[in-house]
Symmetry: C2
Subunit: 461 residues, 2 copies
């Protein structure tokens, strides 16, 4: 009987386990998970913190019993894999509760150990402070809100990092009545997602909701007393707060991968091929600990995003079950909502594209989400970039007020997947009905603007 051991019961690990067992029910599939939860939605943490989601249980896609009873998967909860032996094909594990150790044999190993916060390494002083939070696990959301709800109304929250976690937290902590300040190391909000022009629009809107934003200010240190932080220190500022949430600085958890001497990529995550195999053919790596390929540039990237993690898990599970599946990679679509703004991006942003040597043409416009005469339409700010030499789409960014902004980015994302060009975008047959879209959708207008810059007709036509 083939024995599959999966280390890590998050989305990627459980997708792999479920898929393997489904395709090949005779396989012995065991998942080792450090916490008491599996199949958890870490992306829901800000919404748990802000009480949009009421209970932690809601963040589980399925309860552990489901996987055991319905899917026949062995679950070893509150168990830590502490060592992997590649020659004997064993995992050494230890019970988190009792400290008891044991061993498990495997024919295939799937690593799904995820990512972890670097916060305690960067700021070791935070261990002393009960009011400094960073995402450890799914219960972090609960801890934040329990602490926040004890504070008097109008207390100050300081969020470190204006990435998507920071901006989702800003909305949710505001909802709890806190006065929020965001401290960002770089020169803009959402620096990994947006170019400066669109980031500016997000910043203005956040300010209108009373969020203070301090940019160009890497946090050097947390200071406090009696077990509570009182302020963060930057080069030239001291920012006081009553609760602190760190939304930046995660790294792939590759400790066990090092036991096995697996190839680690330049990104610091475990290298995988298009079947999610590592440099050992009997070991797969999936999710936030692993690299995968960027379809736009062909380079290996580390993108700790849930959809790619799930797909990698699905593909690994299919492959260990004896079928053949591939995960060619992703294009880096990234999205979040903060207050009433929807922000999304896909592919490269302008500065990345230029750094990689592309000659970039750009279309930027402010469009409308419905026919001009229909009530309820919203503004949408869209930027699409393409390669001047080939007309290939390279990426897009959007800031809008409803989910159609997000979906316009998904249209570009799907065209990036098939290496689509500006002319493909022009031809893209976006539907039209007055309450749903304008007859010239902003996407098609962007294509027109780019076509003008590239000559109207593709060179090969």
């Amino acid at each position: 009987m083939t024995r599959v051991v999966i280390i890590g019961g998050g989305a990627a690990g459980m997708a792999a386990a479920s898929r393997a067992k489904r395709l090949n029910p005779k396989m012995d599939v065991t998942v080792i998970e450090r916490t008491k939860w599996v199949s958890f939605a870490l992306c829901g943490i800000p919404y748990l913190a802000g009480c949009t989601v009421k209970t932690l249980d809601q963040l589980l896609y399925y309860k552990p019993e489901y996987f055991v009873k319905k899917r026949g998967i062995n679950l070893m909860l509150e168990t830590e894999a502490i060592k992997v032996d590649g020659s004997k094909k064993k995992v050494v594990y230890r019970s988190v509760k009792t400290g008891e150790e044991g061993e498990l044999d495997w024919d295939y190993l799937i690593l799904a150990t995820g990512a972890r916060s670097k916060a305690p390494k960067i700021w070791p002083e935070i261990k002393e402070f009960e009011n400094v939070f960073y995402i450890k696990h799914i219960d972090t959301g609960d801890e934040i809100r329990r602490y926040a709800l004890k504070l008097p109304y109008g207390s100050k929250a300081v969020i470190v990092g204006a990435g998507y976690v920071g901006l989702e937290m800003a909305e949710n902590l505001s909802k709890l009545g806190l006065k929020v300040t965001i401290v960002e190391a770089l020169d803009r909000v959402a620096p990994r997602v947006l170019d400066e022009d669109l980031a500016q629009k997000v910043e203005e809107r956040l300010k209108s909701y009373g969020i203070e934003i301090i940019k160009n200010s890497p946090v050097k240190e947390f200071r406090g007393s009696n077990g509570r932080a009182r302020k963060v220190i930057t080069d030239n500022k001291e920012i006081e707060g009553d609760i602190f949430v760190i939304g930046v600085g995660i790294e792939p958890n590759v400790d066990l991968a090092k036991d096995l001497n697996l190839k680690i990529g330049e990104t610091g995550a475990v290298w995988t091929d298009e079947r999610t195999r590592t440099s050992r053919t009997d070991v797969y790596a999936v999710g936030d600990m692993a690299e995968h390929r960027d379809i736009v540039t062909g380079r290996m990237v580390w993108r700790p995003f849930a959809p790619a993690a799930n797909k990698m898990g699905y593909v690994a599970g299919t492959n260990v079950a004896g079928r053949d599946a591939i995960f060619p990679g992703s294009v880096g679509t990234s999205t979040f909502k903060t207050f009433d703004l929807v922000v999304a991006a896909t592919g490269l942003n302008r500065s990345e594209a230029e750094r990689l040597g592309y000659k970039v043409v750009e279309a930027s416009l402010t469009g409308h989400t419905t026919a001009h005469y229909m009530p309820g339409g919203r503004e949408v700010n869209l930027k699409v970039i393409a390669d001047e030499d080939t007309g290939r789409l390279l990426g897009a960014q959007v800031v809008g007020e409803d989910e159609s902004a997000f979906w316009r980015i998904n249209v570009i994302a799907s065209l990036l997947t098939t290496k689509g060009t500006v002319w493909d975008l022009f031809v893209s047959d976006i539907g039209y009905a007055p309450p749903l879209s304008p007859v010239w959708d902003p996407l098609i207008i962007a294509a027109r603007l780019l076509m003008r810059k590239l000559g109207e007709v593709p060179k090969k036509f």
Copy 2:
């Protein structure tokens, strides 16, 4: 000086005129338009009828003066082109008001004469009835509502045809307090858009809004007296009403095209190449009177939809101005909203695909529009079909409760444009954030279901 004459001032005609003049301001560009409006949004008529749009003026993208003053286009309003001479390159026109005739020379002619209702041909008796309406022009919306608002509350409206016009009208006439019955010749609502299973969901919802639907009932005759229709007659029913709206039966207006002996396609519309040229190199045809290519099957099709009309106009205008642009075609995306339902489809439906000889694999599912734990998520019913031999996507249909349903179809539409496969859909990097989408989007689940049926990996990989 090059003289361009454009016949028809709708979306396609004005897009062509604007583009030609912009690229080549020295050209003499004249638009001949039968009504007193140009650049009108006929798709807004149901919303004008239902008072969602308050005034007819709102349905004009730009006022006529704008085109004259800002864009330097000659507008001949309330003027009908009555004959085209291909050898002398002349148009004979007649003033609608005075009956005065005149001639105009052209170097390039762009036909944009649109489509027209066949209703008075099918049911000649309706000419006698003041309470039977079909879409003649933009003012039809105004006429319908003026008549409807005079009727006592609870009067009966009969809509002929359950296509998108009929279903948009059903919502809008209901809003005016009318009791609505739809009479449809075929076996389901939205028969050109949806397969039976999804059509059933729309029908159930319409019934919940009090709409009566009578299927399999071609209307044979309108009957009435004293200038007012009282009922429609089908094979075995008589359906009484106080106001009647016909939402079916349009045809391309190709009268002038016949003067020029232009090639007419099998669809009955004017054949065009990928530059929107007709069989004469100095005559272009754009919009609802012209054929274009279906990108999925490669066949010529007649699709009187506004986005394609606009793109054809843009391309024709670019080409007559001496540049080179192409319109490779469309994939037939079609969408509408009726009450709280969003309906959309793209590419082929199952029965069309089978009729064309494809071996069809299908994924049908009911999914959720957001992360399962977020409030506000909706149900979405999705069907995606693909070709069993190649894995190429062939089409998709959706019935949902918010605009994300529509946008999911647009993602498939863009993949159809680039001849994407089921595996491209799986890889499609749909973004994820809890308020915006589930981590396994219904689109990706559909891809997974199809991959199972096709073998997990593409044959060529």
